[in-house]
């Protein structure tokens, strides 16, 4: 197989083979990507760039390769969402309240990546505390998508909350990136930027050292240009971890080994409730095309029903803010993070002013909703009811698995929208996660794969949902979509100086 002429056009798998085969050094590769990052300032994809650290890590990788001690991701430059704590490197979670936070420890997911030999290019921008679907809630200004509609220069969002990672992957600023997904924050930005994003089963990756948003929903996962690259990265992010009691003690499979096994005989469910009113006809058409592709490759298509689907999003907007209001209580202006400079009367005043100054509007709104639904007298009406509806949503999936092995759905209700288009209407923003949020509530794995372009030339994705801990089948089905879709479109290179 011939390699691309530009180093930054390599896929992660191509780079791995080139570096371990000594055709390219990690230093050459890392310099090329660090330059691409530095030249892509207009995208605002990074909060912190770490080119010196990247070069040090690359030099260490090259030394290992020379000694014949290469590890699985040796010398491969990655971007890290700014929600993962990185020892000695500022970690902001996209918030003013963590503007000066330098973690004295490393998250388990990133430690696993460095232990496998990967190189860090920097920390990617994101919606504040991962609360958003457009990256507009970041304290560090919105990320722009590298994509623009045909005959238009209008700035589009990269989706969110892992929008910096999505933008960096789509613009070839890194070989792959980490993301986190609480309601769709990996899959939605992947879908609208023409990249691949995988939310693993809850418990597959450790949450330790990842800034918490909603602990029963948060899960880290890979964002890449190909399904194979996602398979490679997930294997080296996942682990059981004594520091996260919800991480699961199951062997991590070699997802790459079964990637090309095809979908012959695989039963693919089409959940009828995912056909929503008001969705653009392009979404339904692409979904039908996806089913036709898989059928042509030997899969069996079956219609299934997930009757509680329409309640997933409102249930999420009780559970997630409730857990966020508890998790974000730790920002007190005392132990770390922003502390008000205003005159204060007492400790309560210190908390109230520090938190009001440190949190942005969307985060404040969600903390207040969460505080309300957990407050005395309302717990049963809201949180307890929402957790019961979660049980019903999980039950829907379990019944579907009697008829099928994976589900095929649209990934988003539409393509990327313009900056500012939805930022004044919280609920219309929340609706971006209508196809992804069910998976978080049920703890299942979901994969977004680029599948086509709108008439305006903007990417759309399809989603494969699988059984708990069956990422291997999800990736295999995603690979078949990737082959059939043959999505080769790339954004015009308008951002470089």
């Amino acid at each position: 197989m011939s390699l691309p002429s530009k180093l930054t056009d390599f896929t992660l798998a191509e780079a791995r083979n080139a570096v371990s085969g000594k055709k390219v050094s990690s230093i050459e590769l890392t310099k090329a990507f660090s330059k691409a990052v530095a030249d892509a300032k207009p995208l605002n994809a990074f909060v912190t760039e770490t080119p010196e650290k990247a070069l040090e890590m690359a030099a260490a990788s090259d030394a290992r390769i020379a000694k014949g001690e290469a590890r699985p991701l040796e010398g491969l430059p990655l971007a890290i969402k700014d929600l993962f704590c990185t020892k000695g490197v500022k970690t902001t979670a996209g918030s003013n309240i963590l503007n000066n936070f330098i973690p004295p420890y490393e998250s388990t997911v990133t430690q696993n990546l460095w232990d496998a030999g990967a190189v860090m290019l920097g920390k990617t921008n994101m919606d504040e505390f991962a609360m958003g679907s457009s990256n507009e809630t970041s304290f560090y200004k919105p990320v722009l998508s590298p994509w623009r509609a045909k005959n238009s220069n209008a700035a589009l969002v990269p989706g969110g909350s892992s929008g910096g990672s999505a933008s960096a992957v789509a613009a070839n600023l890194c070989l792959g990136a980490t993301g986190t997904d609480t309601g769709g924050s990996i899959r939605q930005p992947a879908a609208v930027t023409g990249t691949v994003g995988l939310k693993p089963t809850y418990g597959r990756c450790s949450r330790w050292g990842t800034v918490a948003f909603a602990s029963s929903l948060d899960q880290a996962g890979p964002m890449t240009r190909t399904v194979r690259d996602a398979a490679i990265l997930l294997r080296h992010m996942a682990s059981v971890d004594p520091k996260d009691s919800t991480s699961v003690d199951m062997p991590v499979p070699d997802y790459e080994a079964t990637l090309e096994n095809g979908v012959k005989g695989l039963r693919v469910g089409i959940p009828k409730e995912y056909r929503i009113d008001g969705a653009p006809p392009e979404i339904d058409a692409l979904w039908q095309k996806g089913a036709d592709w898989l059928k042509a490759l030997g899969a069996e298509i079956v219609e299934v029903s997930l009757p509680h689907t329409k309640y997933a999003l409102p249930a999420y907007y009780i559970v997630a803010p409730a857990e966020a209001s508890s998790n974000l209580a730790r920002y007190d202006g005392v132990r770390y993070g922003h502390r008000t400079k205003e005159a204060i009367r007492d400790i309560t005043d210190l908390y109230e002013k520090s938190r009001a100054e440190g949190f942005g509007a969307e985060v404040r709104r969600r903390i207040l909703i969460g505080t309300y639904v957990l407050s005395a007298g309302y717990y049963d009406a809201y949180y307890s009811r929402a957790q019961k509806i979660r049980t019903l949503i999980l039950r829907d999936f379990e019944q579907a698995w009697e008829k099928c092995d994976v589900l095929l759905t649209p990934a988003t209700p539409g393509p990327a929208f313009a900056i500012g288009e939805k930022s004044n209407d919280p609920i219309s923003m929340y609706l971006n996660d209508v196809f992804t949020v069910t998976v978080n509530l049920a703890g299942l794995p979901g994969l977004a794969v680029p599948a086509g372009l709108t008439a305006d030339g903007l990417p759309l994705g399809l989603q494969i949902i699988g059984k708990a801990f069956d990422e291997a089948t999800v990736l295999r089905a995603g690979r078949s979509i990737e082959i059939a879709a043959n999505f080769t479109a790339k954004p015009q290179h308008w951002w470089a100086a």
């Binding site: 000066n100 936070f101 330098i102 004295p104 420890y105 089963t201 809850y202 418990g203 029963s216 919800t246 699961v248 003690d249 329409k310 309640y311 409102p314 249930a315 907007y317 009780i318 209001s325 209580a329 202006g333 005392v334 132990r335 770390y336 993070g337 922003h338 502390r339 204060i344 007492d346 400790i347 005043d349 210190l350 109230e352 002013k353 938190r355 009001a356 949190f359 404040r364 709104r365 903390i367 207040l368 909703i369 505080t371 309300y372 407050s375 309302y378 009406a381 809201y382 009811r385 957790q387 019961k388 509806i389 979660r390 049980t391 019903l392 919280p426 049920a442 703890g443 708990a468 801990f469």
Partner: protein, 95 residues
Amino acid sequence: MSVDKDTVRRIAKLARIALEEDRVEPMERELNGILAWVEQLQEVNIEGVEPMTSVVAQKLKMREDVVTDGNIAEAVTANAPVSEDNFFVVPKVVE
């Protein structure tokens, strides 16, 4: 269910987030928009349904109740906005 201005002030107090008086009315509107939207959950029959307590079926792991970490006071206070001799500094709380 919906919230009024007093409830908004009370929740903000509980959440320890200062809310300027001119922000109370917009916040009331925003919260009520969201609460009206989640109201549809009331139509779901949840009779006899257990709330989800564990996302993935697994028994919570146990470990010995022993110290596994410590003696890192400097690392713990390194990010404190104000600290003295590895103590966090807060306004006087006891008269």
